[in-house]
Each structure stands twice: as structure tokens, then as C-alpha cells.
Symmetry: C2
Subunit: 249 residues, 2 copies
């Protein structure tokens, strides 16, 4: 049984903590949280707020904000153990070299109030030493059906791609929501369209899947839409993305 310690108490840390104990092949021995009172879902005896009191484990997973990873890794009161972070945008060598370094990046968007099926979360692994990769792979295979070897350079690019397909898509939903609200239309009328648009690119390439006035070069509709948009930011984004679709289509 792989022993895991998680350092951090954010969304990723909490979702991961819950998932590990369900695998049957790994166990969460401890979770470090600066503010333990935030963690109501985990048994109190597993939680510590002191790095000095960290339990012995096969792998230490640092899941804190990107900017804090380097500092937290250098504060660990031991050497030569396997320490990984969960960030998409931080290189492996940002971890303190006194421990064996690795990355365990779950490529998913985690929200506080929404459960995640970890078996469907792609896990992107990297390690300093080959033996450690095998250990991370065992843990990852116990959690998820899709595990990838991704180096630091690829992971940086993947993280940018994830910002486009997730954060920026979600912002498109936010802008659509604002337009609905201004016109007394319930936003949930758009849910089937949103999920179908997302599902499509599992079988078609995004270029093949592109529909709408921009790719049709339907200038009359585009102009009617621009007339209707009174918000400068909405109109600006509409113009720039229409142009980008036409240039890349």
C-alpha cells in the first residue's frame, strides 16, 4: 500500500485526498493545512498544521498555489524523499533539489462544490529519476484510466492550451450568460448547445466542428450581431474572434 502525504488544502488537494483513499492501492496518511479549520470533510487525526510533524510516506504531494511551491518544498524538514507538485505551469526544477523531484499534474478543472470522477482525470507525470516514475505511475494508474508522461516544457504548453479550452471557454459562457440576462432569456436554454459543442470535439477536430456566421463568412449576420451588442468589450471580443476564426478556418 502506497503511503501518501498531501501538503495543501485547496480544491485539487481536497479532491485528491478523497480520491486516494478510494483506490485500495494507496492511502492518505496525512494532509498538511495551514488553516485546518477549513477542512471539514477529512478525519481530524489525519490533518496537521505543522510541517515539522509530517508523517513518513512514499510520496509527498505539494498542492499549493504556484508561487508557494518552491518555498514550501524548501521548508520540508527531510531530504532524499519523493516530493512532487500538482501544477500545470511550474517546472520540476522549481522544487528544492534536496529531495527526489517529480510532477503529478491532474489536467482537470476542480471546483469546491462539484464532485469529480478521478478515473476520468488525465494525469500527467514527470520525475527526476526513473524509479520514481514507476512509483508515480502506480499511484496514477490506481486513480485514473488515462496517464501520460509529459515533460516540463510540454506541460507548460499544455497548461496554456488548457487555459484556452477551459478558462476562456468558460468566459464565453459568462459573456453568453450576460447577453441572456440583458434580454430576459434563461441561460439554461443554452446548456444542450454548450455540452454538444464540447462533445463534438471528441470525434471531430475543432476546425471540422466549427459552425456559425464567422466560418460561413455571413457578413450580414455578423453586422446584425455587432449592432445588437452595446457593450464595448463584448463587441471587441466578437470582432477579434470572428476574424481569428476566418483566418484559421
Amino acid at each position: 500500500m502506497l503511503k501518501v502525504v498531501i501538503i495543501g488544502s485547496g480544491n485539487v488537494a481536497q479532491h485528491l485526498a478523497k480520491a486516494i483513499d478510494t483506490t485500495g492501492q494507496a492511502m492518505l496518511v496525512q494532509l498538511y493545512a495551514r488553516d485546518p479549520e477549513k477542512l471539514t470533510d477529512l478525519p481530524g487525526e489525519k490533518i496537521t498544521s505543522s510541517l515539522e510533524k509530517l508523517a513518513n510516506a512514499d510520496v509527498y504531494i505539494i498542492s499549493v498555489t504556484d508561487d508557494a511551491i518552491a518555498e514550501v518544498s524548501s521548508q520540508l524538514p527531510f531530504e532524499g524523499k519523493l516530493v512532487v507538485h500538482t501544477s500545470g505551469s511550474v517546472a520540476l526544477d522549481q522544487l528544492d533539489g534536496k529531495n527526489r523531484r517529480g510532477v503529478f499534474y491532474p489536467l482537470q478543472t476542480f471546483s469546491k462544490n462539484k464532485a469529480i470522477d478521478f478515473s476520468k482525470v488525465p494525469l500527467c507525470l514527470e520525475s527526476e529519476f526513473e524509479n520514481d516514475y514507476a512509483l508515480l505511475r502506480t499511484l496514477a494508474d490506481a486513480l485514473s484510466k488515462t496517464v501520460y508522461s509529459i515533460d516540463s516544457k510540454q506541460r507548460q504548453a499544455l497548461h496554456v492550451a488548457a487555459v484556452f479550452v477551459s478558462n476562456f471557454s468558460n468566459h464565453m459562457y459568462a459573456l453568453g450568460n450576460a447577453i441572456c440576462q440583458e434580454n430576459n432569456i434563461p441561460f439554461n436554454i443554452l446548456n444542450p448547445l454548450i455540452t454538444e459543442t464540447a462533445d463534438k470535439v471528441s470525434t471531430l477536430s475543432p476546425i471540422q466542428a466549427q459552425t456559425g456566421p464567422a466560418i460561413r463568412h455571413d457578413q450580414k449576420t455578423i453586422e446584425r450581431h455587432l449592432d445588437l451588442l452595446k457593450d464595448d468589450n463584448q463587441r471587441n471580443i466578437y470582432k477579434i474572434l470572428t476574424q481569428s476564426i476566418q483566418d484559421n478556418g
Copy 2:
């Protein structure tokens, strides 16, 4: 049994034609296509390429490109019948007034090679006369579980919102795909993230669901991402959408 004639042979026309015959409450009596040889899935005897030979029906559904709707409606060789179009962005009064006018707008993205479950497609109805609304409602209820009364002004706004949540989101997938290709990463690694991002907004508002460096004001990550993006268009879109998320969050 409601008799339906469809005028047009695009994606919407073909998906609708197939769905109508499965309802048990409506039947497709005929489909008009300028180029009938494109239609390989429908029985040949139901297809005509002459507007003069249109069969008798309870409702005529014009499903052609937006710019052609007015002209096709004025070419119909009859008066006083119920004629609707399927466009999100064309007003009801663009149809020729010699017939009773209506709109039957399926709010979904239709692609040639992907089947659609019509029962999950929101149908947005509008009619010139109250009696005709009842008829359209009967047809719509037979096809779909979600039917809305949406007037021409609302539908215009809804269509713009649909461009944001569907066409522009899909373009975010296309940009993510391009970044993956440039870095030898398989795009399908992003599929779970894409579908989860879409699913989230059925239970959370898009503002609540927003994650990522922009909403966290994580300036270091944003700058690393901008450094990594070598394409001017990608970088420009990254900047504008990051700013928009921060201004609207």
C-alpha cells in the same frame, strides 16, 4: 398526423427531416432540395427539386441559408399556409406576408457527420397567429422535451449568445489544438477538461465556475504563458480574454 414539408437540404434540414418521421405524431411528406443528389439518406420519392411541385402540408419549414429565406418564401406558389423558418438570426417578418408566418428555431449545433438526439434540442417558437402557435407547439413537443416561446427580438439576442457559447468556445478548442500540435501533445488529453468545463455551467453560474490564472490574478503564470505564445493572434486573444475575465469576475 401533422404533415410537414421541409424546404432545404443543409445540416438542420436533414437532421430535422430524419427526426420528424420518428415522432409518430408528424410525418415528412416532402423535402425540397435544389441539388437532390446530395441527399442519400432520404427516400427518393419524398424529394423534389421543383417549388411548383410542393405537396400539401400543415406546415412548411424553410431551412436554407439566412440570406435566402426571404427570397425562397416569396417564391412559394401558394398563399395563406403556415410557413416557418429555422433561423436564429432572421426576424419573422422577413418571411413573405402572403403566407401565415412563424419561426421554428432549433437551438443546437448540427454537423454533417454527428447524430443528434432531437429530444434534447431546445426548440424556440414564434408565430404570427395564435392558432398557428398551437400547431407549432404540437410539432415541437413531439420532437423535443424543451420548447420555448421566444420572440424575434429575444431570438436575435439568443443567437448572439449562442455564437459566444458555441462558435467562440469551439474556436478556443481550435486554438488549444494548435498549441498542442506545436508541442507534440495529443489534443484528446484535453477532452475530459473540455466536457467538465461545459458540464459545470449546468449547475454553477459561469462566474462561479471560472478558474485559472486570470481570475486568480496570477500575474507570474500569465506572463509565463504570454512568453510561451509565439503567435501574435494567440497572444492578443490571451491578453484580451484575461482582461475581460478580470473585469467581469
